[in-house]
Amino acid sequence: MLICDEYVTPGTLAEAFAAMERHRGRYRVVAGCTDTLPWAREGRAGDVEIPVLIDVSKIPELNERQVGDKRVRLGAATPIQRFLDDAALGRAMPAMPRCAVWFADDQIRAQATLGGNVVNASPAADATPCLEAHDAVVELASAKGKRNMALREFITGPGKTQLAEGELVTGFDCDAFPGYGGSFEKVGHRRSLVISVVCLAVMVKLDRDGLTIEDTRLAIAGIRPVPRRLREIEDHLRGKRLTGALLEEAADMPLDLVQSRTRQEYRRDVVRGFLVRGLIAAAKRAGASPDALTQELEAAYG
């Protein structure tokens, strides 16, 4: 049970910083609360008494959204469900809607925020590999000023980030990838409401004929302390003709990705299957020519 004496909902960033200053050492920031409330239960943190909760989800700057051809800027309080509701956003970040549909459930997604997912920094946080694939930059602010940091520097380990005392994540600045096909592969113990055992974000851009890979972005999570971009695979695929053999070759690259303590063998098999399946799905959505991918390949990885 989460017990507080006061629940503050600042309407501006300045109010938020003032509240953080006023209650220094006695507060905790919340946004959607979907990580914080289940955390304060028996078996995890148990009953937790925090004098002041500061809810940043209503601050306008944290709810802004700008979707352009080159860049996307997302406020930290953007609920995950927006990736499904906002078609323009889905086109600019084509793996995100596929990720969102696997994220918790329709109801929790309406509350769960992008910023909360990143700051909570679970190795299985589903939005993080997608953001990593977009080279996301984390925008931070405090009463003293602003600073930016690459996502891959910001998340330093399970539950650990470079967020400083008195600081908030205000938003994320990401590369936009319109025209790319996206996919998100995820496996856990069941279909809905499930923590990723492995998850993979894939985006693919093809040439006009749908035969050659012009560009691709891949990032994986769930199998190591922090998400990892798969640049070796991206480099191997870029500029090559899309064939089943190429995708299998990429999946077989000896990268030693799995660092989890449990079920390593299983995870290695899954990673291989996901790479091929994710690339096929993203390529199809990018307009792959029917000649490029054989039916046998699709059947084997479907």
Partner: protein
Amino acid sequence: MVDIRLNATINGRKVSRDAKPHLRLLDFLRDDLNLTGNKEGCGAGECGTCSVFVDGVLMKSCLMPVAKAQGATVDTIESLAKSGELSVLQKAFHKAGASQCGYCIPGMVMAATAALRANPFADREEIKERLGGNICRCTGYQKIFDAVELARDVQNGRLPSTALLETDTADGDVIGKSVRRIDAPSKVSGRLKYAGDMIMPGMLHVQVLRSPHAHARIVSIDTSAALAIAGVESVITSADVPGKDGFGVFVHDQPIMARDKVRYVGEAVAAVAAEDALTAKRAVAAIKVVYEPLAPVFDPDEAMREGAAIVHDYAPDNITKHIPIRVGDVEAGFAESDLVIEENYSTQAIEHAYLEPEAGLAYIDHDDVVTVVSPSQNITHHRHMLARIIAKPISKVRFIMSPVGGGFGGKEDMIYQGMLALLAMKTMRPVRLVYTREESIISTAKRHPSRTTLRMGVTRDGRIKALAMRMVCDGGAYGLSTEGVMRKAAILAAGPYNIPNVRIDTFGIYTNNTPSGAFRSFGALQTQFATESHLDIIAERLGLDPFEIRRINAMRDGATTHTKQKLGSVSLMRALDAAEQASNWEAGAPTVRGPTRGDLGHDDVRPSVTLGARFAADDKQEAAE
């Protein structure tokens, strides 16, 4: 505490009230506004019993601080059936039989309402996906999906509204027919009150102190600091039990709170009744217990060995119950066999996970009758046991069975009702206890984990000549239903097969694990898992079709069971035929099939688990482009 002045529109009415800042929207709705249609099945976002609309968007109210509802429009299940008239979806749930215990149903109806608002033409896959945040433990979901499809079709005019009302039964003609449940309207509307929904004037709230040790002597319990807290009315321990303490379905080995020692992690040690649950929680934290840890035993095979820790003094061998069955001469049977196979099997503990966590309310009525209202699966037995424990004549004890939000055997044990009765007697006020999901999991019975050694002898043509089985089950710290479970496990161990020579031993063993108890199938699952797996292994070794080996040995009409029960009619052959057909079975020994599976890929076989049905239209369009 700084209260929040909450202004919101709830079920169409303006609400302006002070709320405690730590409340979740769910607490505010249920406790402050008495809107109990939505439930708390887990409190952690996992089950969907708490789903409500906030500004038209379905959300889990257990994950939402009440302050987030400031200025919002909130609609609960109570808003759907305006003036008692059920919505189309609610009627469809009734028609389709999509409610059993009903505990998940208000949340399901809310999620279904949201799904059809999001896409009035959603197909079954999309409906499944959109209902993914809601769990049902009873229905198997199919009837729920049927109901949503029915409502969709009526709403879209594809079916007439009379489709919601039709019944296939004439008066009195019900056997073999699909009959409408008379209790469904109360469940689909959220109006049915489960124990945790009930309130009484002047009611106190109960919280329980539980053991952190698996096995420890209780040196002392100091409740003075807890009693000193304002708002605390009473704190009880086993010292407050006036009669002969002890309950259990077969042996009365469990005190209503730990007496002298604790035997498992999560065992109740003391209970507090206070003006509100938070005060009771704080009082529980203020109780000081000094324990002296004892050597525990966690493995039932170890517990049977000489020198193991003793869980109950009355059973120095730690055996709760041993059931032996002997028929014929198994050694002679093995000697006659062409093939003798021995294997080991094990099964694990399983939690019932009924969606309604345990809850109960107790009060002393005007005639001094101690009354306990709870979802007990065994009220008559509980009444008898409680009378003895509180030293009252049976006429002064009453049990009222509240609607059971799922039981599956897990609510047969009188695990908390004794504490409630005692606290009501001490305070002379109504008292209510509502478990959290975690408390339910930590402290109540599980399915017995088992280890089985099975030896079976067969002739070359597949006839079973002898079966020898020894199963050891972890009964945990208390007896509960273990004796009955061991008995049924033994009786059904040899399956519905004619076997001339049988030797079966089942043992229920005390350990310092969470107690095991009744759970659907009551022991049959554990032994038959071994027997049926064994038949498949033997079929493979003999080159027989697994269905065939069962048919060869099947009991027929008039057979006598291993425990000498004469069976009039036996439906096994029909069941085998139906299973063979339904599974698209490819006839032949397990070794004859090639690398591809012909039983998959049929219309009635579910494809592998995936999500994204809502993209199906987009994907088709992309493929066409």
